[in-house]
C-alpha cells in the first residue's frame, strides 16, 4: 500500500479560495502606506496588482502574508478572517507565496527546498521526528512521491532536483521557488514579481507555468508584477495602486484605458516634460 497523507488534504479539496482585502489601513509611524485598500481576488482566477514604485504593492502582499498587521481592516481567505492569524498559521489555511528577491535556502538542494514547502502538511510531531518513527518515515515518503509527481514533473525541473540551489541560473531559481510554493498545496498563491529580471524566454516560460497552475490546479493566483505585457496577457483582473490607494480595478483591457491609470504611469512624466519644454 502506498502511504498517504491525511484525508482532508485530497486533491479534490484543493480548489482555489477567494481572497479579499477589506478597507485595509497600514501605517508606519506617520506614513500611511495603505489607505483603505479593498479588492478581491476571485477564486481560481489570476489577479494582478500593479502600480508605480512605492504605490504599496509589497505592503499589500506583506499584509496578506501576515508580516504587517493593519491598523484597521480585514483580510479574508475564503470566508475566514485571517487578519490575526500568525504568519506560520496561514500556510495551513492554504496561503503560499514567493518573494521578489529569491528566498531559497542556500546550502540545501532543490529537492530539500521544495520538500520544505510540504513541511506544514506533515502531522508527525517532534518526538516521532526525533526518533524518526515509522510514521514519520511513511509521511516523508508520501510527501516526496507527491512532490515528484505533481510539482517536479509539472515544472520540468527533474534534471536539477539534486543540485544545490546556489548553482542554478536566476530563472531556474525562480522556478524552484514556485515549486516550493506549489508543494505547500496552496489554494491561494501570492507571486511577488515572478518574472522580474528575467529575459524574454524565461518570462514566457514562467507565464506559461502560472497559467498551467491556475488551469490544472484551480489555484487562485495574486501577483505583483512590473512587466505590463505579461500582466495584461495572463490576468483576468487587474488592481491598480497609487500612493496606497486603489485607483482602478477591472479587466485588463478596461484598466489599460482608465484615465487615472494613464496619469499615474505617464502623467507625472508628461507634466515634467511639459514644464521642461516651457
Amino acid at each position: 500500500m502506498t502511504p498517504e497523507l491525511s484525508e482532508s488534504q485530497r486533491p479534490s479539496d484543493w480548489g482555489g479560495l477567494s481572497l479579499s482585502v477589506e478597507q485595509v489601513e497600514l501605517r508606519f509611524g506617520g506614513i500611511r502606506a495603505l489607505r483603505g485598500v479593498s479588492f478581491a481576488a476571485r477564486a481560481g482566477e489570476i489577479t494582478a496588482v500593479i502600480g508605480p514604485n512605492g504605490a504599496g504593492k509589497t505592503s499589500v502582499f506583506n499584509t496578506i502574508s501576515g508580516f504587517y498587521r493593519p491598523a484597521s481592516g480585514r483580510v479574508l481567505l475564503g470566508s475566514d478572517d485571517i487578519t490575526d492569524t500568525p504568519v506560520y498559521g496561514r500556510a495551513g489555511l492554504g496561503l503560499a507565496r514567493t518573494f521578489q528577491n529569491i528566498a531559497l535556502f542556500h546550502g540545501l538542494s532543490v529537492l530539500e527546498n521544495i520538500k520544505l514547502g510540504g513541511h506544514h502538511l506533515m502531522r508527525s510531531g517532534l518526538m516521532s521526528s526525533l526518533l524518526y518513527s515509522k510514521r514519520a518515515q511513511n509521511e516523508e515518503l508520501a510527501l516526496r512521491a507527491e512532490i515528484e509527481r505533481r510539482v517536479i514533473d509539472f515544472l520540468e525541473i527533474d534534471h536539477i532536483r539534486h543540485k544545490p540551489v546556489d548553482a542554478l541560473s536566476y530563472g531556474l531559481q525562480k522556478r524552484v521557488e514556485l515549486a516550493r510554493a506549489l508543494a505547500m498545496r496552496p489554494r491561494v498563491l501570492l507571486l511577488d514579481e515572478p518574472v522580474a529580471g528575467m529575459n524574454r524566454e524565461e518570462t514566457e516560460d514562467m507565464a506559461r507555468f502560472i497559467l498551467d497552475v491556475q488551469e490544472d490546479w484551480g489555484v487562485t493566483v495574486l501577483l505583483v508584477e512590473h512587466d505590463m505585457g505579461m500582466v495584461m496577457d495572463i490576468s483576468s483582473h487587474v488592481v491598480v495602486l497609487n500612493f496606497g490607494e486603489v485607483i482602478a480595478s477591472g479587466p485588463p483591457a478596461e484598466v489599460r484605458r482608465h484615465p487615472e491609470v494613464i496619469r499615474a504611469y505617464l502623467g507625472a512624466e508628461a507634466e515634467v516634460a511639459e514644464e521642461a519644454v516651457a
Binding site: 502574508s65 506560520y88 503560499a96 513541511h119 517532534l126
Partner: protein, 295 residues
C-alpha cells in the same frame, strides 16, 4: 625518533584527540545557538556547569541513580533554556549583536553567582559514570574515561547530524536558521524552532558538564572548560558544526601535546597562539561562512 619517544607522542596524541570529543560537545552547544538564532552565547560554560551541579545534587545529595539524576538535570536545564529564551532573548530581538552578547555575559555572571551561593566554591567528587579501567596498547596507556567520554560525545554528535539532516523538525530548524522570514511563510513556527534550539543547546552542554564532572571533579572552575571551546569555535568558524568537530580535535591534540611536552602552564597559551596563527590565514575560520560577522 626512538621507540619510547614515539610511544609517548602517540599517547599524548590519542589522549588529546579523545579529549576533543567533549570539547566538540561544548562547541556544539555554542554553534547551535549561534546558527539557529544568531546569538553569541557567552553563558555556554555556565549552563554546562549548572547542569553538572544539578546532576551532582540528584545523584549524590538525593541519592538518585545516575539515569534519573541525569534526566532530571536535563529537564531542569531545558526549563532554564526556555526561560532564558523567553525572558532575556526575545525582548532583545532586533537589538544589536553587542547588546545581546552583553546580556549573555550577564546571564553567565548570574548563573555563576547562583551556583556559588547554593553549592559554594568547594570541589566535589562525582562518582564516575563510565568505566575507569585504562586501556593498554603495548606501551601506550589510555585512561578509560577518555575513551568513554569520547564515545558518548561522538554518539551524541552523530545523532545531531542525522537529526538536522533527515528529520522534519531538524530540517525546519535549519530553514529557520538560514531564513526565518521565509521559513515562517512555509508554515514553520519559528519561535518554537528557536526555543527548541536553546533547549537542545542546554542539553548538549549538560551532557558535556556531566561527562567532565564525572571524569574529573566538580567545582565552579568547570565553566572555564568553555574557554578552550571558544578557541575551537573561532577556529572552526562560528556557524559550522563540521568546523567545530574538526577544530575540537585539533585543539584537543595541541592542548594535550603541549601539556605533555611543555607542562601545564604552556597549555594555557599555545592553543591560542596556534588559533591566532590560523586565523591570520583564514579569518573566517576553517569552515566558517565568509559573510560571518566578526565581533
Amino acid at each position: 625518533m626512538n621507540a619510547p619517544a614515539l610511544y609517548e607522542l602517540l599517547e599524548y596524541s590519542l589522549i588529546g584527540l579523545l579529549s576533543g570529543g567533549v570539547l566538540a560537545l561544548i562547541a556544539l552547544s555554542f554553534v547551535l545557538v549561534y546558527k539557529g538564532t544568531g546569538v553569541v552565547n557567552f553563558a555556554v560554560g555556565e549552563v554546562m556547569m549548572l547542569g553538572a551541579y544539578l546532576y551532582y545534587t540528584g545523584n549524590v545529595l538525593f541519592g538518585l541513580s545516575p539515569v534519573p539524576a541525569f534526566v532530571l538535570s536535563l529537564l531542569l536545564i531545558a526549563l532554564l533554556a526556555v526561560l532564558i529564551e523567553r525572558l532575556v532573548l526575545r525582548p532583545l530581538a532586533g537589538q544589536s549583536a553587542v547588546s545581546v552578547l552583553m546580556a549573555t555575559i550577564g546571564m553567565a555572571s548570574i548563573l555563576h553567582g547562583v551556583v556559588e551561593s547554593f553549592w559554594g566554591s568547594d570541589t566535589y567528587s562525582v562518582p564516575p559514570l563510565l568505566p575507569r579501567r585504562p586501556l593498554n596498547f603495548s606501551e601506550v596507556m589510555i585512561p578509560g574515561t577518555a575513551i568513554g567520554n569520547f564515545a558518548v560525545a561522538a554518539a551524541l554528535i552523530i545523532a545531531f547530524i542525522l537529526f538536522f539532516r533527515y528529520s522534519k523538525t531538524g530540517i525546519a530548524m535549519r530553514a529557520t536558521a538560514s531564513d526565518p522570514v521565509t521559513a515562517c511563510t512555509l508554515g514553520i513556527n519559528i519561535r518554537f524552532a528557536q526555543r527548541l534550539t536553546w533547549v537542545l543547546s542546554g542539553g548538549v552542554g549538560t551532557v558535556a558538564g556531566v561527562l567532565i564532572a564525572s571524569s574529573a571533579n566538580l567545582s565552579p572552575l568547570l565553566a572555564a572548560a568553555a574557554l578552550s571551546a571558544f578557541a575551537v569555535i573561532i577556529l572552526g568558524g562560528l556557524d559550522s558544526i563540521l568546523g567545530a568537530i574538526v577544530a575540537s580535535l585539533i585543539i584537543g591534540w595541541i592542548d594535550a601535546v603541549t601539556a605533555g611536552y611543555l607542562g601545564g602552564k604552556a597549555r594555557d597559551v599555545v592553543p591560542y597562539v596556534v588559533v591566532l596563527a590560523i586565523l591570520v590565514v583564514r579569518p573566517y575560520g576553517i569552515f566558517g561562512t565568509r559573510t560571518i560577522e566578526r565581533l
